[in-house]
């Protein structure tokens, strides 16, 4: 176990290194941000002068070398757009994004588990179809369309929830629904299939033949044992959300990483892109390892042998 953990941890630095290089090269090919930093009517002389002043006219190896040296010292540099520490900017937005990811996870679970259980208990019935279609629909509707629709219906017409921004628990509801419905599709399917699998197993039949109530069997045995894969996939999806909620954050003016990252990519603000990718990648790797270990520790099969 510890050896395994050690091996996994050992893999992190090379992965982060590859990610860093990949992003640097991509952004370098994309060109420097100088032209977009100046006004639309800046003259070529002004642009060239500014490029020189910022050191973007140096050859690739010099820029790359400097960059790596800074990085080794833990310095992601200053944002070209905002002129302040890139890592600081990223860490400042992280809590809002994590908050949204958590809320979406809760909503996804609230939708997925009942739907999954119902459709597993009554497979291939009308209820099953209802449940499956509903969850699939969540994935089949683009986020931004659903987001705008939810605002129109719940905020503008019904006036029951705030439109955008932060400030209260009510503010998080619509963005979390937008992201949560998309997440719930996969989870519902997984709950359904793993429950079905377990419901067909011998010990469940034994439990039933002993005269236990069906609902008790479903909840106590089948559901409990299907939890591990469900938790795993939920965490993995939540990890993907850390960088995947960009569009939803834009629609709801949610002050998370999303807007920062999109703006940074457009403006070729390499320090911010790097810091953001570094932070999200670290988190994704961390969550992966965590779920991986959890999975190994909690596997239901081990319990029943």
């Amino acid at each position: 176990m510890w050896k395994y953990l050690f091996m996994r941890l050992l893999q992190i630095p090379p992965v982060l290194f590859i990610v860093t290089i990949m992003i640097f090269v991509l952004v370098y090919i994309a060109g420097d941000p100088v032209a977009t930093m100046l006004p639309a009517d800046a003259s070529p002389e002004e642009i060239a002068q500014f490029r020189h002043a910022l050191g973007f006219d140096q050859p690739f190896y010099v820029q790359f070398g400097n960059y790596i040296l800074d990085l080794i010292r833990g310095d992601f540099g200053e944002s070209y757009q905002y002129g302040t520490s890139a890592l600081g900017l990223v860490l400042e937005r992280l809590p809002a994004t994590l908050e949204l990811a958590t809320a979406s996870m809760v909503i996804a679970i609230l939708i997925a588990i009942p739907l999954g259980i119902i459709s597993a208990v009554k497979p291939n019935t009308v209820i099953d179809f209802f449940a499956t279609s509903f969850s699939v629909l969540g994935k089949a509707i683009p986020n931004f369309w659903l987001g705008i629709m939810l605002i129109l219906v719940f905020s503008v017409t019904l006036k029951v929830l705030p439109v955008s921004g932060t400030g209260s628990y009510a503010h998080i509801v619509l963005p979390a629904i937008t992201l949560g419905t998309a997440m719930s599709a996969e989870i519902t399917r997984l709950v359904r299939s793993s429950m079905l699998e377990i419901l067909h197993q011998d010990y469940i039949r034994t439990a039933r033949s002993k005269g236990l109530k069906y609902s008790a069997v479903v909840i106590k045995h089948a559901f409990k044992n299907s939890l591990v894969p469900v938790i795993t996939i939920t965490f993995l999806q939540a990890a993907a959300l850390v960088g995947g909620s960009l569009i939803t954050e834009m629609i709801f003016a949610w002050p998370g990483l999303g807007q920062l990252i999109i703006q940074a990519v457009y403006a070729k603000d390499l320090p911010i892109i790097q810091a953001a990718v570094f932070v999200t990648a670290s988190m994704i790797i961390f969550i992966n390892i965590l779920t991986d270990i959890m999975y190994r520790v909690l596997d239901p099969r081990i319990k029943f042998i």
Partner: protein
């Protein structure tokens, strides 16, 4: 077994007991099975309709989809006041016929959907086969690369890539394809790992069959059905990705038409002229629904891991 990603985290052990079967017989059995599955039939019908629509666009579209008509801007669908049968689903903010645009739009949505899955699949399968078959340092290197890709969120990766390359149909296909190669790579790798331990592969090796032949004759055919299953499902995801990129202004650009672009251009008008983006939205949802139904059914039939879920 290392658990690097979602595909491998499936709660069921990889167990492949498939034998080579006669292809045509297999197909017939497949078709028979299809007819017994209700969702499968619905899925197939939807997918066939969309494909036909894309193929026959010039014949069935009532108008040139890019014909601007300032006299007929924002006309509602025929069943609403001011709407009429000349534009069944109404017109957009430049007076273009929505039905015609929907029909033509299916082309790019389908092309992007299928081709980017092919691109991702090809890259992923090749890397997966190599990693799984050769193992050792090659495997480690490829898997670290896979880990790196997994660590970068897909949307972020697409945005960075698309700002580097000039936007266009093939760029888009390439970028979306590249973002999902890792899924194929890890799936194929783990299946290859188990298949290469089988007796007939070992036997082939001892009698001196070349590595190339073993990979393509003995291993690839055995992982094929799993590839087909995840491909169908990822086509659906790709269509959604395309529309999200259009929302960010990084997708296909006019005069090309896709459902994604119609959806995102029309969002400004959602509150006043809802038909602009609702119809493409519905088209995307129905198509994705159809593909997912078809894919789920294929999974049930082809994938031994989920056989238990059929009842």
């Amino acid at each position: 077994m290392e658990l690097n990603n979602q595909a491998e985290l499936s709660p069921y052990p990889v167990e492949s007991s498939r034998q080579k079967e006669n292809m045509s017989k297999k197909l017939l059995v497949l078709l028979k099975k299809l007819l017994t599955s209700k969702t499968g039939v619905v899925g197939l019908l939807i997918v066939l309709t969309v494909c036909l629509m894309a193929l026959l666009a010039p014949i069935i579209a009532p108008y040139d989809p890019n014909k601007i008509d300032t006299a007929n801007m924002l006309k509602p669908p025929f069943w609403l006041i001011n709407g009429d049968l000349s534009h069944i689903l109404g017109t957009d903010n430049l007076g273009r016929d929505i039905l015609s645009r929907l029909i033509y739009g299916s082309r790019i949505s389908i092309i992007v959907g299928i081709l980017s899955v092919v691109v991702g699949g090809l890259i992923g399968v090749i890397f997966g086969l190599i990693a799984g078959y050769y193992g050792g340092i090659v495997d480690s290197l490829i898997m670290r690369l896979v880990d790196s890709f997994l660590a970068i969120p897909t949307t972020l990766f697409c945005i960075v890539f698309l700002t580097v390359l000039n936007p266009g149909l093939f760029t888009l296909i390439f970028v979306i394809g590249v973002t999902n190669w890792v899924m194929y790579a890890s799936l194929v790798r783990s299946e290859t790992l188990s298949i290469k331990e089988r007796e007939y592969v070992k036997a082939a090796k001892t009698i001196g069959v070349s590595n190339f032949n073993i990979i393509f004759r003995h291993i690839l055919p055995n992982v094929f059905s799993s590839i087909i299953v995840i491909s169908t499902l990822s086509i659906a995801g790709t269509i959604i990705t395309e529309s999200s990129l259009s929302f960010l202004g990084l997708g296909i650009q006019p005069p090309a038409i896709s459902w994604g672009i119609m959806l995102s251009e029309g969002r400004e008008h959602l509150a006043t002229s809802w038909w602009l983006s609702t119809f493409p939205g519905v088209a995307i949802s129905i198509t994705v629904l159809g593909i997912i139904f078809l894919g789920e059914w294929l999974r049930d039939v082809l994938d031994p891991r989920s056989r238990g879920t059929k009842s």
